[in-house]
Symmetry: C2
Subunit: 559 residues, 2 copies
Amino acid sequence: MGDVKTDIEIARAARKLPIQAIGEKLGIPAAQIMPYGHDKAKVSAEFIRSLSGRPDGKLILVTAINPTPAGEGKTTTTVGLGDGLNRIGRKTLICLREPSLGPCFGVKGGAAGGGYAQVVPMEDINLHFTGDFHAITSAHNLLASLIDNHLYWGNEQGIDSRRVSWRRVMDMNDRALREVVCSLGGATNGYPRETGFDITVASEVMAILCLAVDLEDLERRLGDIIIGYRRDRSPVFARDIKADGAMAVLLKDAMQPNLVQTLENNPAFVHGGPFANIAHGCNSVVATKTALKLADYVVTEAGFGADLGAEKFFDIKCRKAGLKPAAAVIVATIRALKMNGGVSKEDLGHENVDAVTRGCSNLGRHIANVRRFGVPVVVAINHFISDTEAEIAAVREYVSRLGADAIVCRHWAEGSAGVEELARRVAEVADSGQSAFKPLYPDNMPLMEKIETVASKIYHAAEVTADKAARDQLATWEEQGYGNLPVCIAKTQYSFSTDPNLRGAPEGHVVHVREVRLSAGAGFIVAITGEIMTMPGLPRSPSSERIFLNEQGYIEGLF
Amino acid sequence: MGDVKTDIEIARAARKLPIQAIGEKLGIPAAQIMPYGHDKAKVSAEFIRSLSGRPDGKLILVTAINPTPAGEGKTTTTVGLGDGLNRIGRKTLICLREPSLGPCFGVKGGAAGGGYAQVVPMEDINLHFTGDFHAITSAHNLLASLIDNHLYWGNEQGIDSRRVSWRRVMDMNDRALREVVCSLGGATNGYPRETGFDITVASEVMAILCLAVDLEDLERRLGDIIIGYRRDRSPVFARDIKADGAMAVLLKDAMQPNLVQTLENNPAFVHGGPFANIAHGCNSVVATKTALKLADYVVTEAGFGADLGAEKFFDIKCRKAGLKPAAAVIVATIRALKMNGGVSKEDLGHENVDAVTRGCSNLGRHIANVRRFGVPVVVAINHFISDTEAEIAAVREYVSRLGADAIVCRHWAEGSAGVEELARRVAEVADSGQSAFKPLYPDNMPLMEKIETVASKIYHAAEVTADKAARDQLATWEEQGYGNLPVCIAKTQYSFSTDPNLRGAPEGHVVHVREVRLSAGAGFIVAITGEIMTMPGLPRSPSSERIFLNEQGYIEGLF
């Protein structure tokens, strides 16, 4: 393995085309591309508006089994499949989420693919990129500042300072900011109160940016944000303190999709990146809808495993944006299936066909779940050097019994040449007209029933429990006209259940809804099960200690 | 006045050239320009390195009398003079500071010039621009996060958590963050302690970025930052917790100068913007030094009036960067001189030659002060429609008695056509070889004596007082090897004294040094006189309430 190149070395050796040339492949005139350097660009709002009459391409979702420490390679497979489709002559555009800057300095590697299936420039994409997350941070914190300023100058709206729900955000892993008391230091600094910071990807502004269809819709949604409550429990909206206009101004450029390229010079949009637990975990609607106008096939991904990511992609993003996915790819690795079959991380190197077969229960349930939405499935086995023929055969057989194909992909090592078979099969399925997409539940189902529907049909839970406070809160929101919103369940990504240690395909567990939150601007109800961390910390020896600029001015240690 | 256009209307009507064409005027190849959209760009480090053998152009500082609510127009005059010099055939490059985003949502108007003397795109320049301030915010807060993380994981360095001097920053006016208690909520969130946020321009990282000559120097200075003290009072440096490399990575692009254009398509660098009280208040050394290689004349500005801005420009920036200014322009307006002569803001509309003459004492002292540095002076009277002939004549006569010229400029209303006379005179003075620049005090003067020298020679104070604690602290720093640093005095900008109401040219006042701080990375000692606000608040009705995107997607209400 001594001569295996790191992701950053491969990325640095990429022969990138000028971003205008990538735009040209999609028919975007250079004047409608707003470059950021020579290899990144935003697509203009004017150009996007000009596309409205065009037909849509086919939308392909890449999702995965429940994540394990072994790694599944969902983004890598999304990039690889996009390159593979282009290789076999299908005009394809990839749509990815933007990674968060903060976690890069903790333990996380990059989020721009890996090996020979990457989008570049990966250093930029993983750090400041085109500034979208910074703009979201600014807009979020402007609202926070305006709230405390409103309290300071007499609180005309009568906000109950104990019930301000809007916190602040920072794109940094900083546990010290999780809970703070602000406005200390005397009268000139305002009224002290408890509050805290979340990481930027957890901001409702992020979810809003990713669901808004244009700037007008963005501003309306920003105005709809609930910042807190009055003593009579009536909600106070961002527009009540006149924050929506200035927030939209700060987000003007951030709303435009970012164009980059793969190592094979195929186009990719990388735009927006909301959390996949307290938010819906998909790239922006604007990017996806624009991509569908520009290409025959659009390959996109959703966060975490299919129980969280695909469900939200279908029930929130597709429902709200009127998208109709034509096919879904579920990514699995032999290693991760083994872990789902009960093998510890240390023992992954040994062949264990039984464990793989046991672990397939996890995959099998995700296949059935995705089909519930009417979307046909292809399984991608993201190949690792340690995989054995027998292990692969076991997966193929298991999947075949479910009436689907499991196809081995070697894009990490070989680029598009290693993913041709998957690309052919996915194109065939997408073109077949098999898909009959529909969301899991109708808009008019009561909120608690929506939660129960996801829990029983997707998680295979026996029961949903919730405190009276949570049930009352849902009832209140229904009275206030929020009953037709979809639900966004925040649950551990490691299991179908709420117990992260329960791998495989658990049945009959209980899902307890600890808390419910209303993201009125984004347009969904968040149901929180278990502890959801919205501001990560750093490890004892954070990766930042090993990140530096080398003598040539290149970034070292980032991945 | 009904048909007078606003700054933003004028800016929007600008016929901008592609930024590559602006670069071409300076001989920068398109490949060495990293575009941000079509009208903003960064100049590559590679290109900057290639310039090292070239001769330097002439450096012209634009400074001003003490600011008053009447407004002086220093940035406007800097832009106007740059356009004027280009108009008379002198190849000139303008170097400005980047404005801060936060204050735009409070009361402040834009900081990109005004009328027909602006740099564009002014909306972008005043908001996210090329992301430099966001990068500084990230780098600053990464360090803060690493400090609390170090405490959390066992505090190997033995940092005294009561003596952590590094705070956090945000580019937002948010008084609620001035003083906070962080790390609340129990053991998993760390050790609670008092801290707070400053606005990003007050960050030492900002001062460092503006004084560093290249990325290597930047990283060294970042490592030199003192983040706090151990129980034995020994300093803990950013490099002790291995933060410097990752901070430099975050600042890699931010180090490169930003190229934009004036309304008349002349080139301007807009790069860096440190506070002019607790820091030195000038644009980056990298931008200024690069500009001197690319143009025959470089027009730049310094913060506030000449007592703060020009003094720091000369004693900190020029001293450290080896710059030799060829001429200085002191900007005054009839209205501001009247206020310095005792007239209230309400009465500025009436002719008052006596008040103008009395107010000239302020101008006169700034002229004498700048000459103390060996730099010849030209006075620019930035014309307002209400100025009378007699008032202008009074200033001309006063300045003429001091052996200098006061020249009326109409760049705000007329662009470069209104500033030809000033441009001719400034070029003549700069070309004359009159300048014999030297800083006010030598490096090896004791720190307290440096403060006293500035206070007596520039402020005309009778005495400097300081608590024993401050004097002891200065002595300790001298022992630690910081004695040769320049001093950066944080004082009210409204008066030569520390009393903001004392206009004109006060004599014999006492300057009390309340506190001293060491910016070891930036390389200066800050002496704080009076209350210095490093996190502004918002007014009762912040300008954000009137900022929005109009139906064409243009920003309204920003200026």
